[in-house]
Symmetry: C2
Subunit: 359 residues, 2 copies
């Protein structure tokens, strides 16, 4: 059974209005901090009150999972890179670890379905649904029960991370060789976009592999005629048909973090695909999400548009691992500090904007 009782409250409009009033009274020209002001208002709506402290307790959660579709040669890397990279994350040697240190954030890895030649590595959060989903080019990726289990595992991952420390903000990322193929199929089906337009080069495949990847995505999309928004059962059927355990797990993580009123920073294409699943299950959850960046994957723009999220930056990233989300964490902290720590004109005794003739 798919869990449907996520109990996600909408972000708080009154807190947002109070935050906007405070932001407008701070010692700066009206509106002069642009997106940072909007972020502070969103963070307040999420918290249910005007943010009054620095969001300096930051966690990064990477959902990891293997993909049966790698059998089709859709990636430039062999599938065993997934557990190897998970080992690198846990050892502190990967890009996300370097970025996390720059962002003063803690890194967690959730194993939703990684199976290497040597077996799953010793995971921080062991939530493995199954060693890997089936090759969705030849049939459904998983059973309905597995999809529901992956969604629930994502929620448990958030519970476990928040049990370690009362984090102010959670960045979500992914690791899974083959998962841009799965994400492309999800985005094609859930947005109705053309398969070719949402299927990119992932880790950097050549033209031949790209052509095969597009065929697979188009064939998978043809099995699921587009359905109107808001249909949770349809989303779970699509997730089971073409998803990966880490993608469905990340959808569960988004829903659980939203239910706990924790702001969620989304990384790239894979996490956006997970957010599209979450959006079908509980549209209100997207109000808890902040899109960190627009990646090089062409479908990411389409997914973000369907989520109605505007990314903070575009640095030409296409790595995953929450790398872009990690770079956004200090910006989120800056927004919290702006509203919590800056003085208003009245508090500072600084002259306000004048409509009078200049001296």
């Amino acid at each position: 059974m798919t869990r449907t009782d996520w109990k996600i409250a909408p972000p708080d409009v009154e807190a947002a209005n109070a935050a906007r009033a405070r932001v407008d009274a701070l010692t700066k020209p009206l509106g002069s901090l642009g997106r940072i002001e909007a972020l502070a208002v969103q963070l307040s709506a999420i918290a249910g009150r005007v943010v009054d402290r620095a969001y300096d307790r930051k966690a990064i959660l990477i959902g990891a999972g293997d993909h049966g579709v790698t059998e089709e040669g859709v990636s430039a890397y062999p599938a065993e890179v997934t557990p190897q990279m998970v080992d690198a994350f846990l050892g502190g040697h990967a890009a996300i670890n370097a970025f996390a240190r720059a962002a003063h954030a803690d890194v967690y890895v959730a194993n939703f379905g990684v199976c290497g030649p040597g077996g799953p590595p010793d995971q921080l959060l062991g939530l493995c649904v199954a060693p890997r989903p089936a090759n969705f080019a030849r049939g459904p990726a998983m059973t309905a029960g597995q999809a529901a289990a992956a969604l629930a595992a994502g929620a448990r991952a958030v519970d476990e991370v928040l049990a370690r420390a009362p984090y102010d903000v959670l960045a979500l990322g992914d690791m899974g060789i083959g998962n841009t193929t799965s994400a492309a199929a999800l985005v094609a089906i859930l947005t109705g976009a053309d398969a070719a337009g949402v299927t990119g080069r992932g880790t950097g495949i050549g033209d031949e592999r790209l052509a095969r990847k597009r065929e697979i995505v188009a064939a998978a999309a043809a099995r699921f005629p587009a359905r109107a928004a808001g249909d949770a059962e349809f989303a779970m059927a699509v997730a089971a048909g073409v998803g990966g355990f880490e993608i469905v797990g990340l959808a569960g993580a988004i829903l659980a973090a939203a239910a706990r009123r924790v702001p969620i920073v989304l990384d790239g294409y894979i996490v956006a695909a997970a957010a599209l699943i979450a959006q079908r299950i509980a549209p209100v959850a997207i109000g808890y999400c902040i899109a960190a960046h627009r990646s090089q994957e062409p479908g990411h723009r389409i997914a973000l548009e369907a989520l109605a999220l505007e990314p903070l930056f575009d640095l030409g990233l296409r790595l995953g691992e929450a790398s872009g989300a990690a770079l956004a964490l200090p910006i989120v902290e800056a927004a919290s500090r702006m509203i919590a720590e800056m003085q208003t004109f009245a508090e500072a005794g600084v002259a306000t904007e004048t409509g009078a003739a200049p001296s």
Copy 2:
């Protein structure tokens, strides 16, 4: 006498090549960290060797100065806000202080020419050239000697900051009511752009003040027919004609930091105008510069194009105070950590990209 012996070496091409080779060997798909990779290469070229440590020692230097042109009613705020905001910076209550805490950076203020009703506040770096430049709508803003003194004061500010700690990176920002008018005139003259196109609403002025501001900028630009790049004497004449002490001081700071091979993160429009002055004096200095963001001021895009700098992000900022540059500091640190701390595929024992048929 204008100082001309800045002794700025070009960024090191061999170090850049070695950095690119290392970046390409790190455990990530080739090119998958986009601008972050380019930043790591630039930081290495600036250092003269492949960066091998985290750039976690970060300083922010705000150049402050008053502007005689405020007499013309070009700002929404009265001139006394400049010293009041300097007080706020030193008290830790302003936007830049909140952002600096998020970026784990130290804040310094250089008083290049601030004169409030109660006299200049107690400055951290007292380098005041004069209480304020003259109103450039009615004559030259400063004497040639004052312009040279401001440029030298900027270099001294960098020396003083770097004497406090061996900072890895320096973010530059500005405070000065009226200074977007001065910056617009500088950008119009130094890029040859139309005055109307480089003159924006600054702190948020209405149509009437904007029309007056454009008149002033156009009239000032008409006094200086555009001259080809690379003419230091012309740049200093323009700086004296329409500049502000903090803008010329920031130009000196850019030149001094470049001479000391310290990477410089540029904030918004005012600092870009300063960089255009520095570019005329020593074009090679711009290789030491990183443009943090594109601001809301319409002329900023034109200035960045003339500097051939691509900003890291556009968050709709138009505050100054180094606020955008502060947000970029963790990104610069992330780039340094990527190249210094990530493992290569060989070091990690992770399977590399395969051209072979998939398994």
